[in-house]
């Protein structure tokens, strides 16, 4: 069990809903995290999943409002932006990735903000790095080597299971996870099989994710729902629940390769699912929006969304990540402006 998983076992006592007390005793909830449970109890639970309904117009309206309702300025903005930096899974997922750009990325992960800017904010000794670097399985070795060379223990996350479409055989998808873990990835971002969601095969989906979980071993499991391809918010909720029940440490919005990526309505549904799961089982599951989060302002909106929906305790790398590649440079520019009062040229800041 990884250090992160310890964090997910905070709540004690039986779940809130009366009917859950039978099937969701704390011992069992603990068991499924270890993947030793029989799975029978959870199967029975899947009947309530099909009854879930999401009120889409209300979600859309809340999504519209929440972006306009919270804003942070000045010192608060700077602090929040630095917090956002520590939550970033700094990502490169391109066909032309090689050892050299992966190495650059790793150094940027170690030194995300220029040292003098951090000093001005009195944050230089706080060990500010990104939360992880995220690469394709074949680049895990490069990333691990580069980070070792930089002398830091930032975790390496690898996408897996036929990313981004997931349309490969289960056997190869599982093998992909094992190989990435062998190469030193301590976090695995798996994509779920959209086919199973769209055809309503919730039990099969549950079984697949449990197998992913098992293949991960000690590594952290993030489950990408690819919400842009699930068809409805109700499906997003159901898939979120199934993933959490099957043992995901994180649920993640998208691969960044779909036409629609991390959107607020989808996020609200997923966050509510996380909260319901927490209320039911006492387990805190993490959330990772990814895809299309490019500006510093966007990142602030995501922070306040999580703060509003789940509370401050979720604002840590153990429970909240932002998957992004170009976001970091915009945040660095904003910090530069906050410290110096000037807008930076791109060459003022080191590239990643």
């Amino acid at each position: 069990m990884s250090a992160h998983n310890q964090g997910t076992e905070l709540g004690k006592g039986p779940g809130l809903w009366a009917e859950c007390e039978v099937t969701w005793k704390h011992e069992e909830a603990k068991e499924y995290c270890n993947l030793e449970g029989s799975g029978k109890a959870h199967r029975e639970d899947l009947s309530w999943i099909s009854k879930i309904q999401v009120n889409q117009p209300a979600v859309l309206r809340r999504a519209e409002q929440i972006q306009a309702r919270r804003t942070v300025k000045k010192e608060w903005q700077a602090a929040w932006l630095l917090k956002a930096v520590t939550l970033i899974d700094l990502t490169t997922l391109s066909g032309d990735d090689t050892a050299s750009n992966v190495q650059r990325l790793c150094y940027k992960a170690k030194y995300p903000i220029r040292e003098d800017l951090l000093k001005a904010l009195n944050m230089h000794d706080k060990g500010i790095t990104t939360a992880a670097v995220c690469v394709y399985p074949a680049r895990v070795c490069d990333a691990v080597r580069a980070l070792q060379a930089a002398g830091c223990n930032i975790p390496v996350a690898s996408v897996a299971t036929g990313f981004p479409a997931g349309q490969t055989h289960l056997k190869t998808r599982l093998e992909e996870i094992r190989l990435a873990v062998e190469d030193g990835a301590s976090e695995i971002d798996v994509v779920i099989n959209r086919n199973l969601v769209l055809t309503g095969q919730w039990e099969a989906l549950y079984d697949e994710i449990r197998q992913f979980r098992k293949a991960c071993g000690e590594a952290h499991l993030k489950t990408i729902l690819a919400t842009g391809e699930l068809g409805s918010l109700t499906n997003v909720y159901k898939a979120s629940m199934i993933a959490m029940m099957a043992g995901a440490d994180f649920i993640k919005t998208s691969t960044g390769k779909e036409t629609v990526n991390a959107t607020f309505p989808v996020a609200i549904v997923m966050l509510r699912a996380i909260r319901d799961f927490f209320w039911k089982t006492g387990n805190k599951i993490g959330f990772k929006p990814a895809g299309g989060i490019r500006s510093a302002k966007d990142s602030l909106a995501w922070l306040s969304l999580v703060k509003e929906e789940l509370g401050d305790e979720w604002l840590t790398p153990e429970l909240f990540r932002i998957g992004a590649s170009s976001l970091l440079s915009d945040i660095e520019r904003q910090i530069y402006h906050h410290v110096t009062g000037r807008y930076a040229a791109y060459h003022d800041l080191p590239m990643s």
Binding site: L16, A68, R69, V72, K73, E75, A78, L82, L121, E308
Partner: protein
């Protein structure tokens, strides 16, 4: 640099992750107030007037109590000057083509857009409301409203051909009115209030938990802060809320307060009150802002009964996963606006209004336009000059009626009873009044009805109302047509009665014939009641439903004893109302004659006809709290009394102010005005989505 600043530093905030202040500068609002020397006069005829020797009222910041400006208290002559100015410009304004008026309106919309910051900061500063609420909601909606009405003005000549402007409109806005509500001209009683919330018992605990979690995240603060959910409404509002909560607590209610509330200033946290016994005094009172009172219910039927058991009827929302059930509840709620699975949506094209004590005027959409327009073919009428009317004694006592002398003929004329509950009944007073014919001879006796008879009639009408509303429009039309046929069969009797009343034979025949036609006309119209579908901002339609008012009281005019009676009865029945009717005083016999047919054709109690002293009966009807609308056609004094007394439950009143109506003309006898008055609108929002 950062280290030298006061207040928390970035490295501290990094740990706490708290929100900081995000103040909106209100410099432009203050600068504008300064251009007025912080002293606002009356805006009349395009100028700011500052008449002397007027007392002034301060306009304060509700959070700090700081004086922002002073306003003048107007006197009668100031109002006269304003009305005079309005009357002068009405001449030119109403003669402008619609397209030109549309241009003015859209120019005003553009002005709002250009100076929106001034408007939202000023509004937030003065009312204490959260700035983002004003900025994102009110200001943009105000622009949309102007644009919508610009379009209406543009198409007015075609779409509303023949409808004329009312003239000079006086608007009286209550103190809690905000800028946007001025734009809406929303009726005063719709004013702000808290919420009462009904939750099904089976999901009670879960819902409250979610509600509390959400409330815990609300932020209160100075309205001008950009990241605040709730502002403050001043010390008085806080004290009111405090009193309510204390009383609820003393009665054993559970109180949950949450949210981030600044300790300085008159802020009050969002509060959830549950377990309040329904019979507690404060459970009946209006819930003050920012309180929510939650009560459990067992079944949908019980929820409907609880929701309708309040004198207010502004708006409500229904949350249910089952659309069928939500629609059923939406239909049943006695309110002006119902949102299904959503709340607080507004659109300029969708009417906003209410019923019961939330008032019966409408704003926005076609209904809002009708409020300010005269129907085609009706002459402009100024209100009758005011004369002293003693509201306490009007119609209080009934002059005694004595027998009209010895009765001649073989058998005495039998007195008509009161037609209540589907049959003729003896009046409570056990006395009758003689009705003389045109030649002075006795035409017949009618019952002398009184307060108790009115009470009985209203009860009978309430019993009949649900059944009648439940009938399909087609079934209602069939009944009206059957009544028309019965009226035609009775034509010889009706004609001779009209003749005895002094109407010429030809005219009498024409009146009977026209009366039958009216019944058929409204029967046909009942099938097309004007329900309509609109598409609003959010995806999904808004149903504009035309619903029955409930129990409608009609005081018929003295003239046209048959035609006026039928012309009023037909639209009222067609739209599903149950009636209590006071027929013409001079000749009530025709209405009673028709009652003999209604006894067999209509459900018992649907139409009740009470004869007697008109002023007295008007008083009884106007003061009755359980009548939803009152139509009065009689004297100017009677009209004024009807309007005054009806304010008790804000029932919708339609009074003729003493002006006679041309009942034989299509426009006044069967025009669209009658249809508009006979039903109320309900806007049912149906947001789409899975």
């Amino acid at each position: 640099m950062a280290a030298t600043r006061v207040g928390p530093r970035a490295c501290d905030i990094f740990t706490t992750m708290e929100y900081g202040p995000a103040p909106e500068s209100h410099a432009c609002a203050l600068a504008w107030l300064d251009t007025q020397d912080r002293h606002l006069g009356h805006y009349v005829d395009g100028k700011w007037l500052n008449p002397e020797h007027r007392s002034s009222v301060p306009c304060q910041d509700p959070v700090t109590g700081e004086n922002l400006a002073t306003c003048l208290l107007a006197q009668a002559e100031d109002v006269c000057a304003a009305v005079e100015a309005a009357r002068t410009s009405l001449e030119s304004w109403s003669k402008l083509p619609g397209a030109a008026r549309a241009q003015h309106l859209s120019r005003l919309a553009k002005m709002l857009q250009k100076h929106q910051r001034l408007l939202w900061t000023l509004e937030s500063l003065v009312t204490g409301r959260a700035v983002r609420e004003v900025r994102d909601g009110d200001v943009s909606l105000a622009q949309q409203l102007l644009q919508y009405h610009a379009v209406q003005a543009h198409t007015q000549e075609e779409a509303l051909a023949g409808w004329e402007p009312m003239g000079v409109i006086g608007l009286i806005l209550p103190p809690t009115f905000s800028f946007i509500e001025m734009m809406w001209r929303v009726c005063p009683a719709l004013a702000v209030g808290g919420l009462r919330l009904l939750i099904q018992e089976s999901v009670w605990a879960e819902t409250l938990r979610r509600l509390q979690a959400r409330m815990g995240r609300l932020r209160s603060g100075r309205g001008l802060d950009g990241a605040v959910d709730m502002g403050a409404r001043g010390a008085a509002a806080r004290d009111l809320a405090q009193r309510y909560v204390r009383e609820a607590e003393s009665l054993g209610a559970q109180v949950f307060q949450a949210g981030d509330v600044p300790s300085d200033g008159p802020f009050y946290p969002p509060t959830l009150v549950s377990g309040l016994p329904p019979a507690a005094p404060c459970a009946q009172a209006e819930v003050p802002w920012p309180l929510v009172v939650a009560s459990p219910f067992r079944t949908a039927k019980e929820a409907l009964a609880m929701a309708n058991a309040t004198p207010r009827g502004g708006s409500g929302s229904v949350w249910s996963e089952r659309l069928g059930q939500a629609l059923e509840l939406g239909h049943g709620l006695q309110v002006g606006t119902v949102w299904i699975n959503s709340h607080g949506l507004r659109d300029p094209g969708v009417p906003t209004g209410g019923c019961k004590e939330s008032g019966s005027s409408w704003h926005g959409g076609p209904d809002g336009l009708y409020e300010y327009l005269r129907p085609p073919g009706t002459p402009a009428r100024l209100p009758a000059p005011s004369e002293n009317l003693n509201y306490d004694t009007f119609g209080l006592t009934v002059p005694s009626t004595l027998p009209a002398g010895p009765e001649a003929g073989p058998s005495p004329a039998p007195p008509y009873g009161l037609f209540v509950g589907g049959r003729f009944q003896a009046p409570g007073a056990r006395s009758s009044r003689p009705i003389p014919g045109a030649d002075g001879s006795l035409h017949g006796y009618v019952a002398e009805g009184g307060a108790k008879d009115i009470r009985g009639a209203v009860e009978a009408a309430h019993q009949a109302a649900p059944g009648w509303v439940g009938r399909s429009p087609g079934a209602r039309a069939a009944v009206l047509w059957a009544l028309a046929a019965a009226l035609e069969r009775r034509a010889p009797t009706l004609t001779s009665r009209l003749e005895r009343h002094g109407v010429g034979l030809k005219a009498a025949k024409a009146e009977v014939e026209l009366s039958a036609r009216r019944l058929r006309t409204w029967g046909a119209r009942a099938q097309a009641q004007g329900h309509s579908l609109q598409v609003a901002g959010l995806r999904g339609p808004v149903l504009r439903l035309r619903e029955a008012l409930g129990v409608l009281a009609i005081v018929c005019p003295e003239e046209w004893p048959l035609l006026a009676f039928v012309s009023l009865l037909a639209p009222a029945l067609a739209h599903g109302n149950a009636l209590v009717v006071v027929p013409s005083g001079a000749c009530p016999l025709l209405a009673l004659e028709l009652c003999q047919d209604m006894a067999t054709l209509l459900p018992a109690g649907l139409v009740n006809v009470v004869t007697g002293d008109r002023d007295h009966l008007t008083r009884c009807l106007a003061l009755h709290q359980d009548i939803q609308a009152l139509w009065y056609f009689g004297s100017a004094q009677g009209s004024r009394f009807a309007e005054w007394a009806s304010a008790g439950n804000l029932k919708a009143v339609w009074a003729n102010a003493g002006h006679p109506r041309a009942w034989d003309q299509e426009a006044e006898g069967a025009g669209p005005e009658l249809g508009l008055r006979a039903a109320r609108t309900k806007a049912l929002w149906l947001p789409a989505g899975d």
